[in-house]
Each structure stands twice: as C-alpha cells, then as structure tokens.
C-alpha cells in the first residue's frame, strides 16, 4: 500500500471579504464554508487510517494554527460518529470559534497574513517529514507522509509579501509539497497561480459556490499518487509577472540586478539588495531614466512580457 498522506489546510479568515461573500449571490457564509470544509477533512481522514491533517488560519496581520490544538482535548465519545472525525471536528471548530471571538477591531488595510500561515504550515510539514530518531534504535521509524497544502483564498494578492511568498513556494518545491488553491471569490491572484504552477498543484476557481463540497471532493481530495491516474484541473495560462523589490508592485517589464537578480521597476544606480553599483553609462542606454531610484511614479511598460 502507498504511504500515508498529510493534508495541511490554510484558511483565509479575513472578515471583510467573508462579509462580502455572505452577501453575494449565491451567498457563502463562513459557517457553511466551515461545515463543508469539515466534511472534506473527514473524507481525507477516511481514505486511510494513518492519514493526518493540520489547519492554519490567516487573519489580518497574524496567523495561527487551528488544528491540531496545543493541548490534548478530551472529546466525549459518540456512538454515531467515528472517533477520529469527532476529535478533529471538535478541536478545529473550537479553535476557530476562539479566534473569531478574539477578533475585535478590524484593520481594513492590513492584508491577511497568508505568508505567515503558509510558513507555519511548511514548518509543520517539515517536522513531519523529518521525525526525530526513535529512542529505541532497533525500531524502524514510520515512513514520512506525503504532504500537500490546500489554500482557500478569498482576498486579492498582497504584492508587498512577494519575496517571502516566493521563498515559501521554493521551500514547498524542495519539500515536494504540492500547493493546491481553491479560489472562493473573483479577485486576481497571480502569485497563487504561480504557486500552483511551480509546485504542481491544482488551481480551481469556484464558480458555483453552492456546490463547494463537490468541487472539494472531486478536485482536491486525490493524493499525489492518484493524480497520475485521475487528473486534476491545472492552469493553462499562468501569469508569471513578478513584483519589484523597490515598490512591491507587479511589473510587466522589470530591471534585474546582474549580480543578485533583484527586480526593480526602473533602473537604479545601486542595487538595494547587494549594494552593487552600476555604471551611469550603462544606465543611460535604458533612456528615459530617473536616476533617483526611489521616485514613486514609475511608468508601467506598455509592452507585455
């Protein structure tokens, strides 16, 4: 039999877009979404006895682990529910409720800490795939699980977090972790496109929100091994645009430092990352340049990459 698999869910719990979603047509309220996510988690755990799950949440400005809980929770056994499901459901719902209660002032401008949640999730996966050596050396350690991440996105890209986000993608590649993205609203998320493309994950925009559970179990449940037989939807067209390091804006044409490959939206005299000085003669060739490298008015190139 194939080895067990670990599924790490990342939920964007930012209140503003969730409020918008619950008033759109058809509405998708957070409560209904969580209920469907729970059934999906149960389905993942049902696949195999050894399967495991972790859930991370992203709120404006901070991220937290929602499951497994820090302490052990004692759940009352129920004769009508499989005990594994009962434990996960109880622990997960309890911590989500806790977080939502603690949420008081909503700061409009702060983007959700998706990168923080993603990093925590990758750290967790890394710990699972490199278990500490067993105390008894004669016992073979259990095989590390195949892991993947499923990210539920409800808000547009935060280009400020471009660099840490790309670092997360590369770490995921190195850990051989696929990042799947389930897009619940219509906003533009080119970095998430790139994340799916680079890690070999599925990207599915949910067009019929009332059928969310069907989307989840059809597209996101299959394990890496199964995907070799039953395909999952991926993107045909990937937007590979990057964000510049100076203003964190997405650029069509950028200027790249020849030493450290940092990206700038306009020619600069000195690379802000590695302090390499460029000769003014070379820079002159780019024409139309503003040698004050930090002016905020940059012209978005008209030529598309």
């Amino acid at each position: 039999m194939s080895s067990p698999s670990h599924l790490s869910l990342i939920l964007d719990l930012t209140p503003v877009p969730w409020d918008a979603l619950s008033h759109s047509t058809p509405p998708l309220r957070l409560k209904d979404f969580l209920a469907q996510a729970l059934v999906f988690i149960n389905a993942h755990l049902a696949l195999r006895n050894e399967n495991s799950v972790s859930v991370f949440g992203a709120l404006p400005g901070r991220s937290m682990i929602l499951y497994p809980p820090a302490g052990s929770t004692q759940v009352e056994a129920d004769e009508n529910t499989f005990h594994v499901f009962g434990q996960v459901d109880e622990g997960f719902m309890r911590s989500v409720e806790q977080e939502v209660e603690d949420l008081q002032e909503v700061e409009e401008d702060v983007p959700p800490a998706l990168v923080g949640a993603l990093t925590k999730s990758l750290c967790y996966i890394n710990r699972l795939s490199n278990p500490p050596p067993p105390s008894n050396p004669s016992e073979a350690p259990p095989p590390p699980p195949h892991s993947r991440i499923l990210l539920f996105s409800v808000s547009p890209d935060a280009s400020v977090a471009y660099i840490p986000f790309m670092n997360c993608i590369f770490s995921a590649q190195k850990l051989k972790v696929a990042i799947d993205v389930c897009k619940l609203d219509e906003s533009e998320v080119i970095f998430l496109h790139q994340a799916c493309h680079l890690t070999g994950g599925a990207f599915v925009p949910i067009t019929q929100r009332e059928a969310l559970l069907q989307y989840l179990s059809m597209c996101f449940l299959s394990e890496t091994e199964t995907r070799k037989t039953l395909a999952v939807p991926t993107l045909d067209k990937v937007d590979f645009r990057a964000a510049c390091f100076c203003h964190k804006e997405i650029v069509d044409i950028g200027y790249v430092c020849s030493v450290c490959l940092s990206i700038f939206c306009q020619p600069v005299l000195e690379c802000s990352t590695c302090r390499t000085k460029f000769s003014p003669d070379t820079l002159l060739r780019f024409g139309n340049m503003n040698l004050n490298g930090h002016a905020h008015t940059h012209s978005n190139g008209t030529v598309t990459a």
Partner: protein
C-alpha cells in the same frame, strides 16, 4: 506503485466480500461504520471515484473518463478500479456512466457527516467517559500475550519439547477447521499437531494471520446459520473503535454477544472484570482490523526485545543472531535454525542443511524462510543491499532443490515392436507430437506422455489395419 497496484493481491476480506450477493452487501452498507471500512479496503483510484460521485444526486450517473489521464496504464488502472466497485455493489456502470448505489452512498455520507441514530460506531460505556481510561500499554500487553499464546501453542505442538497449555476449545476447533492443525486421536481431544499450512501461517505477519483466522470464523459462522451481515458488521464496528475506550454491549444483537465471547479468546476484546458481561475494551488487534499497515504494539513488556520487528542478524557464514527473548519468536526461529546458545536477550544459532531440511519437511518453503528473515532483519542489516547475504539465500534455495531431485510424470511404455521399421515409424510420429519422454532404439522401447498416448495408440492401430 500505481502501475502494479491494480494487479496486486486483494486482501482476504476484500476477496471474501466480492463473493457475497448484492442483497447481503446492501444490508451491510446500512451501517455507516461498515461503509467506511469497505471504503478503506478499496485502492486509491477506486476511493477517488467514490469520493467524486459521493455528493452528486444525479439519477443517470456521471461519465468520469474525461478525468482519466490519457495513457494506457491509467486507463487500465481506472477500468480495474471501476470493475472492483461494481463487484462490491458499490457502484453500477451503464454506457460509461457511473452511478453510486443508494445504499452505499447514503451510508458513507452518514459516516462522513456524523450524527444520526445508527449507533454503528459502538456505544461507549457511560461509566468510563473521561476518567479511568485503560492504559494502552496494558491492553497491548494483554492482546499480544493472548495472540502469542495461540501461536506458541501451534509452534510447540510440532516439537516434543516445551509444551504450552492449550487455548480454549473454540480456538482449537477453529485452528483445526482452517487446516492449520490436525487432531491427534479423538476429535474432541485438545491434542493437536501443526500442519504444513500451519507452519506457513506462523511466518506471516500478525495482521494477515488475524484476517486468515477471522475469515475461517466467518465461514464457520455461516455454517452455524448465523447472519453473516451481523458478523461482518460487528468486525467492522470493532475496527472503527477507539483504543482505550470502554464500550457497552447494550446495542449488540445476540449473535454479536456470542462473537464477543469468542473474541475474548483471541485477544481482540478485553474485559476488566471477567464477570461483568455488559462492557468491554477493544484491543489494538481489533482497532487496527481495517487499517492497512501491520500492527505496531507499544507493548511495555517486550520493549527491550525489539517489540515487533527487526531483531535478526544473518551473517555470510550462516550464523544467526536474534536479539529477542520472546518465546514465540524463539520458537519460530527454532523451526529452521539450529539454535545453540541462549543469553539474556540474545539467541545464537546456525542455518544448517539439517535445520533447513527439517523445515522443508514441515512444508515450509525456502522463499518463506527468506522472506521471514528479510522482514525481521535487524536495522543494521538494512545497510546491506540485498538485506540478506546472497550466498545464504542461494544455499537455502539449493537445499530446497535438493529435495526435488526426482521428477515424476505419468505415461505409457511401448515395447515389443515387431520390426525396427515399425518402431522408427511410431517413434517419428510420437516425436512430431513432442510426447516422447524416453526412448531406446536397441531395446525397441519408448515412453510416451499421458496426453500423447491416445494419439500414438490410434496411429499404431491404423498401421496394423492397413
């Protein structure tokens, strides 16, 4: 993995279920715990097919072929998975459209969403909630002791030394029924002798062993006229229970009460108070019934002795060092190793021609010995590739070949030919048919295989007539 999986051997219970009629399976699927257990028996692709269809309410079914990766291997794998689903009466297929059967669909939905009033995941004992939870080590100790005592009984019956007290009559009856042991003397007498099938059984891992016995138990229950759906449903219910939780018997049927009593003997069930028949603990043997991996006991007793796996070192000079003090493991090793020293936590022996011959005479094959040694090889051995020294592996196989120096074939001897000409003619004919096993022209004799006899005799008769 994926390319071999669809040809892989089905697990015994899986194969058993495919032979059941649809009515029985539909009744079984009314229990959500059974749906979950059967679902886990399926292979990856079949499980994904079920999941893709689970939440659809379509009456006509769905065509999933567009999702199959367009290559030969995937198509075969998909077709095999689909066929399996149809055989288990989970889904039906018509014109390429697949439809989950309502019994299984609603059962699995119930299992995933929880709730309802089916009580198929076992009724927890009210008194045991929260407090007084049995330590899992204690349960493991109990289960492994029970299970090993059965195996040990089997092993020791083959040799005269170190007899072990026999388990209950019911267990012995099942062992005899499954052909693992045969009675010595009277039918009712507990004296039994292990068979060659029994020796092979000992070398398998405990998960396989357990299921093999349980399948015999199923067959036996069927003979006794018990309702198989109840029996299988109870097995799956045990498989979904939580280790360390005490359960109540209040919701069990009469059949299941009887089974509970039987499973006490195998170590699947533990009763804290032997006289209190209203509550029980499932042990790890029971709770891992539906998982695919083999058991991993966290037993405290044998911790020093490398509890379940990895204790044998085999050297190129045929010496065997086994770091164990478990009497069962030593007894199993004793089947094919000539043991000569025993220390606190170590047994030393040697693979000899005689020891292997004795094992072969018991019906154990060379491959079984090699696979047992490989599976239980000490972690230090895993640095080698292959794990076991090639010379020793080859020698064990050669010893097996030695046993088969004579090969017998049935056939007919033709002799007393009138002339050399006649003989040559018949010989040529028989050679064309490729049925000659032996010939001697001087003595005008030849030996023809059984299947060629008819033709050759007919040929001679026609020659004699003309």
């Amino acid at each position: 993995m994926s390319d071999q999986q669809h040809t892989a051997q089905l697990s015994p219970i899986h194969a058993f279920l495919t032979t059941r009629p649809q009515t029985a399976l539909s009744r079984l699927y009314t229990r959500p715990s059974a749906c979950l257990a059967v679902f886990r028996l399926l292979d990856d692709v079949a499980r994904q097919i079920v999941m893709s269809l689970l939440w659809l309410d379509s009456k006509t079914g769905v065509d999933l072929t567009a999702w199959v990766v367009p290559n030969e291997d995937s198509r075969k794998h998909y077709a095999a998975a689909l066929q399996d689903l149809v055989r288990l009466h989970i889904a039906k297929e018509a014109n390429g459209r697949i439809l989950l059967l309502p019994a299984f669909q609603s059962g699995l939905r119930r299992a995933l969403t929880g709730g309802g009033e089916h009580r198929s995941f076992g009724v927890p004992c009210p008194g045991a909630r929260g407090k007084e939870v049995m330590a899992t080590e204690q349960l493991d100790d109990y289960a492994s002791e029970r299970w090993e005592s059965i195996l040990h009984f089997m092993v020791s019956s083959g040799s005269s030394a170190g007899r072990v007290p026999p388990p209950s009559i019911a267990v012995i009856f099942l062992l005899r029924r499954s052909g693992l042991m045969v009675p010595i003397g009277a039918e009712r007498h507990p004296e039994s002798r292990i068979t060659s099938k029994g020796f092979q059984f000992l070398l398998e891992d405990s998960h396989t062993q357990l299921w093999e016995l349980l399948l015999q138990y199923l067959a036996m229950s069927e003979d006794q006229g018990r309702d198989l759906v109840e029996v299988i449903g109870f097995l799956f219910m045990l498989g979904s229970m939580q280790l360390g939780q005490e359960y109540s018997t209040e919701n069990l049927s009469e059949t299941q009460d009887v089974m509970l009593q039987d499973f006490l003997d195998y170590g699947l069930i533990y009763r804290r108070n032997p006289d209190d028949h209203t509550r029980f603990y499932p042990t790890r043997l029971a709770t891992t019934l539906t998982s695919t991996s083999s058991l991993a006991f966290t037993s405290s007793k044998h911790e020093k002795a490398a509890s379940s796996e990895g204790f044998i070192i085999l050297e190129t000079n045929y010496r065997v060092y086994a770091y164990t003090e478990n009497p069962l493991q030593i007894a199993v090793l004793n089947l094919f190793v000539a043991l000569h020293s025993r220390f606190e936590n170590l047994v030393i022996g040697r693979l000899t021609r005689e020891s292997i011959k004795a094992a072969l005479a018991n019906g154990i094959t060379a491959d079984q010995i090699i696979s047992y040694l490989t599976v239980h090889a000490h972690p230090m051995m895993h640095k080698n590739n292959p794990v076991l020294p090639v010379t020793v592996q080859d020698q064990i196989r050669l010893w097996q070949l030695e046993k088969n120096r004579l090969k017998s074939e049935n056939g007919y001897l033709y002799e007393d030919f009138n002339s050399q000409g006649d003989f040559d003619l018949v010989l040529n004919y028989a050679k064309q048919l490729d049925v000659v096993l032996w010939e001697n022209r001087e003595k005008r004799k030849m030996f023809v295989r059984e299947d060629g006899h008819e033709n050759v005799r007919e040929f001679i008769r026609r020659r004699a007539e003309s």
